[in-house]
């Protein structure tokens, strides 16, 4: 897996979403990412990231913590394939993904 970094995050205590159909937004392309959101039992929010840009773990954590703070959602698994998207693009894609599953964006 040389060249790619895999990161895992988990947040708890969110508002549990009712079961929903998976949704995919975005595309794996330079400066872009795809986000797959799937339903999961409980109040947890797990986020898995595959990224071509190594060494940005602290920034991912800040962006994803902000996402969880803004939406406060649980009962979901978010899977990300990233090719060097900027933090702003990542946040917008995450909001788009929540919108796609029928959630409300702030």
């Amino acid at each position: 897996m040389a060249g790619m970094e895999t990161l895992h995050y988990a947040f708890d205590g969110g508002r549990a979403l009712p079961p929903f159909a998976p949704a995919l937004v975005g595309v794996v392309a330079s400066g872009n990412l795809e986000v797959l959101v799937e339903s999961s039992p409980g109040t947890g929010c797990r986020i898995d990231v595959d990224t071509s840009a190594r060494g940005f773990g602290p920034i991912w954590e800040a962006v994803l913590r902000d996402f969880h703070a803004r939406h406060g959602l649980g009962g979901l698994v978010v899977s990300i394939h990233d090719m060097g998207a900027t933090p702003a693009v990542v946040s917008l894609r995450l909001d788009q993904a929540i919108s796609a599953i029928g959630g409300v964006t702030p």
Partner: protein
């Protein structure tokens, strides 16, 4: 009329072309049927390997449909991507939908996957020809910013009907490939006007290589696809010999590998120099009758 087909993502195009809400996907992203090769190279994979396949309705008729995402790896056909297309086509042989519609956007073989990608593309060609030979209409819609090149360029010409927008491109070798092999004197890949008049939708229409020329608009692609739903072109020996003779005639007119504008002029296109500035509607009526014979006249 404001939406651009080229600017939409593959899944958005697919949703805009078929009847609203009718798409049912096979091997959706949540199944995670992904490339086994890209991870080994340290490159992020895509959950759908760059292509969405499934069944849908078009003007009420049951069709099979696929859409390639040109932004992911340039729409390159890898092993899984190709296998999804082949599976769709083989299932069409079994289930006999009213048509198979492919929204193509691809640079051809995904070079990261080398031989697996090459084999995948040749399997797609064979599967598509099997479907066509079974009398099921096959349609290729080309309108993405990356065009349709390489092995997928050949796949497109295996279909009954090819629909292109005026900003779409279709060819075998892409501009950069030709320049790399033969030099900028042969083909300057940075000369956008040259690239478009040599590989673009207007050229393909005027010389009979595409069957419908539309504006860069999802509604226009949908209308052209509906119009071609029942178009089936048999592939008897006589049909192929006739097509071969027409192609030879075109090659004879071209003779010295003329620039596209010169070729259009020789073929009898009125005001050939003005063609690059015309709308698709205005170009559509200028196709020479001899070149219309090459196409199926669906539009």
């Amino acid at each position: 009329m404001n939406a651009s087909f080229a600017e939409l993502a593959a899944r958005e195009r697919l949703a805009a072309v078929v009847d609203a809400g009718s798409f049912h996907e096979w091997l959706p992203p949540s199944e995670r049927v992904m490339s086994p090769h890209l991870a080994q190279l340290g490159v992020p994979a895509a959950f759908d390997d760059g292509v969405a396949i499934g069944r849908a309705r078009l003007a009420g008729q049951a069709i099979f449909v696929a859409a390639q995402e040109g932004e992911f790896m340039g729409g390159g056909v890898g092993e899984v991507h190709g296998a999804k297309l082949v599976g769709l086509l083989r299932r069409a042989l079994r289930d006999r939908p009213a048509a198979v519609v492919l929204l193509a956007e691809s640079g051809g073989v995904r070079l990261h996957e080398a031989n697996a990608g090459l084999i995948a593309v040749s399997e797609v060609m064979r599967a598509l020809l099997d479907v066509r030979a079974a009398g099921i209409p096959t349609l290729i819609l080309i309108g993405g910013a990356n065009g349709c090149f390489g092995g997928m360029g050949i796949v497109a010409r295996c279909a009954d009907t090819v629909v292109m927008s005026d900003i779409a491109r279709h060819a075998m070798s892409g501009p950069e490939v030709i320049e790399s092999a033969h030099g900028a004197g042969e083909f300057d890949s940075r000369d956008r006007a040259l690239v478009w008049r040599t590989t673009g939708g207007k050229h393909r229409w005027l010389t009979g290589d595409c069957d419908a020329l539309v504006e860069d608009d999802p509604h226009a692609f949908r209308a052209a696809a509906i119009a071609a739903l029942a178009v089936h072109r048999p592939m008897t020996l006589a049909d192929l010999q006739q097509e071969s003779a027409l192609l030879q005639g075109r090659a004879d007119v071209d003779g010295d590998n003329a620039d596209a504008v010169e070729l259009w002029s020789r073929l009898g296109v009125a005001d050939a120099h003005g063609v690059p500035d015309l709308d698709a509607d205005e170009v559509r009526v200028r196709r020479p009758a001899a070149m219309a014979l090459l196409a199926n006249g669906a539009a």
